[in-house]
Symmetry: C2
């Protein structure tokens, strides 16, 4: 009974949303990766239709890399893939939340658990700092692929 | 001793990021509003520099409305403003997380607590549904402003 899981056809981002950011001829939606267990927001990526389809078919987060203008299987170099447990779709269907298990414990290419590692308290008063641990040393991890 | 709180000058989005989405001549960054208490992702909005400055100076979330192409004080019609407790900035400074207290309990213009009210489970198998409560009836709330 290992039939592939498919989401219903109406659960789908609107890749022709009139305000969708464009890159290399693609319409993009925003994809927020959130730790499925802790709720921490890990990163914001972008998806074109190909990345959406690849995410659904593999169960691992795929994004569209704007800097490289191509499909990006998150973790393809570092091994830190994101296993997608659930997806949430917003009211006007131009953004999704991916509830993920972050393999390796770090989403950020700088080695931090979350890309949002800088934090400023506004209330009661402003205080800025690093708010999450650095899990790996990027100089070590990324030199392996060179 | 009620001097205004200001964040440090280097804690600031990059409004000239080369991949920043453009709208009406403005460079935008993505702004994720997250419930400061529960961690639930409430909505994704966009900020230009004016919206960023207005958020800091008032302590309430301001966005740039792409559909109206102007500054949008979230909650200005419904009363459901977002009190910003902290801000997190990502590694390449083109996205922020706003940790907010959502006044009225609903961020979505459709009355749901979160704009991400539709959810599909991927593992172990796909199941889609509404994942958060509808807090208000938009037909009632928004007719007050007409």
């Amino acid at each position: 009974m290992n039939s592939p899981c498919t989401v219903s056809l109406d659960f789908r981002p609107d890749f022709s949303h009139p305000s969708a950011p464009q890159c290399a001829g693609r319409s993009l939606i925003a994809a927020i990766a959130q730790d499925a267990a802790s709720g921490e927001v890990l990163m914001l990526g972008w998806m074109d239709e190909e990345a959406w389809n690849a995410t659904l078919s593999t169960g691992e987060a795929h994004y569209f890399s704007r800097s490289r203008a191509k499909l990006w299987h998150k973790g393809e170099r570092s091994g830190n893939v994101q296993k997608v447990r659930a997806i949430r779709l917003d009211c006007d269907a131009d953004a999704v939340v991916l509830e993920v298990e972050q393999v390796g414990g770090a989403a950020c290419h700088e080695g931090y658990r979350s890309c949002f590692f800088r934090r400023a308290e506004l209330a009661p008063c402003a205080e800025t700092g690093i708010c999450c641990p650095r899990v790996f040393d990027p100089a070590t991890v990324y030199q392996q692929g060179k």
